[in-house]
């Protein structure tokens, strides 16, 4: 790895490197702030479907929407936690919620730098989930965490620009830690059971992945206004 991909990731528009980095970082932050004010909304593709966009920016939007989903979910759950959730449960979920918010906000900044339209402040509904008990909440959390790990693992190789790969890698392993915990809280020892990791055969020991299309189908179940991944790369 020759260059800091993460630095390049946000400073590329400045074409500054080397010992201008310190100044560049400040400039990049300023640019980000300004860019955040001037985002054009993504044009709807039809009457009621939002396009994620295309290429790398579209993939970032895809990841960004997933992080919004998680943050919205934990926010709603923690605002009215079931009575049978312990203090420890709530503490663990609160920490996870904070991680998801940080992921969400960082991705928003990354999208701004990428010059992409941003699907911000999407509205989610979790009415189809049973969130009135500990087991209901943890079951839903486990499903979402497994979903996002499978989504990240499926999408990471699709990025044309390798500068995003390390950043996504830094996030996905934390999502996997969340997922493992949700499994363990529901059923001790199920942190990497065969619902997510192949137990036998050629692919034994590998976590399953989901295609963008498969994830979008799940995601749209919880979005008030649906999104379309029609223009995202698939290979």
């Amino acid at each position: 790895m020759s260059d800091s991909v993460v630095t390049k990731f946000l400073t590329r528009s400045l074409h500054r490197r080397s010992f201008f980095r310190i100044g560049g970082a400040v400039a990049a932050a300023t640019t980000l702030t300004l860019a955040g004010c001037g985002d054009d909304p993504v044009a709807p593709t039809g009457s009621s479907v939002l396009s994620l966009g295309q290429a790398d920016a579209g993939l970032l939007n895809y990841i960004y929407v997933l992080e919004q989903l998680e943050a919205a979910f934990y926010q709603q759950v923690l605002a009215a936690a079931p009575a049978d959730m312990s203090t420890e449960d709530k503490d663990l979920l609160t920490q996870i919620y904070q991680h998801e918010v940080v992921h969400r906000e960082l991705l928003l900044q990354a999208l701004s730098v990428a010059g992409a339209g941003v699907l911000s402040n999407l509205e989610f509904t979790f009415a189809s989930l049973s969130l009135s008990s500990r087991s209901g909440v943890l079951t839903a959390a486990r499903m979402f965490e497994d979903l996002i790990v499978a989504a990240y693992n499926g999408a990471a190789p699709l990025f044309a620009d390798g500068t995003y790969l390390l950043l996504l890698g830094k996030i996905v392993s934390v999502e996997a830690r969340h997922a493992a915990l949700m499994h363990d809280l529901l059923q001790p020892g199920s942190f990497a059971d065969n619902s997510v990791v192949e137990a036998s055969g050629t692919f034994a020991g590998l976590e399953r992945t989901l295609t963008v299309a498969e994830v979008i189908t799940e995601l749209n179940k919880y979005l008030v206004i649906k999104v379309s991944a029609d223009n995202l790369p698939t290979a």
Binding site: M1, F19, K170, V174, R177, F191, L206
Partner: protein, 283 residues
């Protein structure tokens, strides 16, 4: 600090350092008419990262080298859990049919599967398994065993992450896909080992989270959570800066350093990982 002395010392160790620095660093060559030492002296903040980059420690050059490196780590992990499952000192905790033994067996099975996957990918290029792994006092007690396990799993996560862009730049999408799918499994293992350490049998260490908070080592070697080389690419686990943004204050709200650092796992270069492994295991 005296930069001239540092440069001079570096030149003793690495006579080509000035050439390497100037080749790698466009800014330095852009200042060609200035003496190189002057240019460096004018940029004291940059020298650390410039040097680190010039001698970057991800020394693996081909996909096969990366795969054999991963294979060595998987051999090590597999043997570690196999020895644990057979250790008389752990028998009272890893009793037949117990949740703890089930979990360790699951992890061991995954490591075996990873060994087989990597060997299959490498074919005749696969390096042989080392003759033996000596884990020293790792199996002395149940808490000791779990401390070592946490160190190996968290290091494994960092190690795979550290090779991701190398595999991608080698244009090996199938290998990258497989590595990602191993990487997240290692993260699940790490989370579970950490969760086990919270349990009463392991000392009830409820301060240990399934994720890495700051660079708290929880008894594992500090280097597992420290910076790699170059530190700009592989910062310590208490890093709160991503993509040049200081996330505690730079995202429009204030977040704690604990939450920000835990929200990201950092990568590690292969040289640092190997040094960590050899610091606790003889092989």
């Amino acid at each position: 600090m005296n930069l001239f002395n540092i440069i001079s010392e570096l030149e003793k160790v690495d006579p080509e350092i000035m050439d390497r620095l100037s080749h790698r660093r466009s800014a330095l060559s852009a200042l060609g008419s200035l003496g190189k030492k002057m240019a460096l002296a004018a940029a004291p903040i940059a020298i650390g990262s410039a040097f680190n980059k010039a001698v970057g420690q991800n020394t693996l050059n081909t996909a096969n080298e990366v795969l054999n490196y991963a294979l060595l780590l998987e051999y090590l992990e597999e043997d570690f859990y196999a020895q644990a499952l057979a250790a008389p000192t752990l028998a009272a905790n890893l009793t037949s049919g117990s949740a703890a033994r089930g979990a360790i067996q699951t992890i061991k099975n995954h490591e075996t599967a990873h060994v087989n996957l990597l060997k299959a990918a490498l074919g005749t290029n696969a390096n042989p398994r080392p003759a033996s792994f000596d884990f020293g006092n790792a199996f002395l007690t149940y808490p000791t065993f779990l401390t070592f396990a946490q160190a190996f799993e968290d290091t494994g996560v960092r190690a795979y992450k550290g090779q991701a862009t190398k595999i991608q730049s080698a244009n090996q999408p199938a290998i990258l896909q497989t590595a990602l799918q191993i990487h997240s499994v290692e993260a699940r293992h790490a989370a579970h080992i950490r969760y086990m350490r919270r349990g009463a049998a392991a000392g009830g260490q409820s301060n240990i989270m399934p994720w890495v908070v700051g660079k708290e080592a929880n008894g594992a070697p500090d280097a597992v959570y420290g910076a790699g080389n170059p530190a700009a690419t592989f910062p310590a686990e208490d890093n709160i800066t991503q993509a040049t943004l200081t996330l505690t204050t730079g995202l429009g709200a204030t977040y704690t350093a604990a939450d920000v650092s835990a929200a990201f796992d950092e990568g590690l270069d292969n040289t640092t990982v190997t040094t960590i492994a050899r610091s606790v295991v003889t092989f």
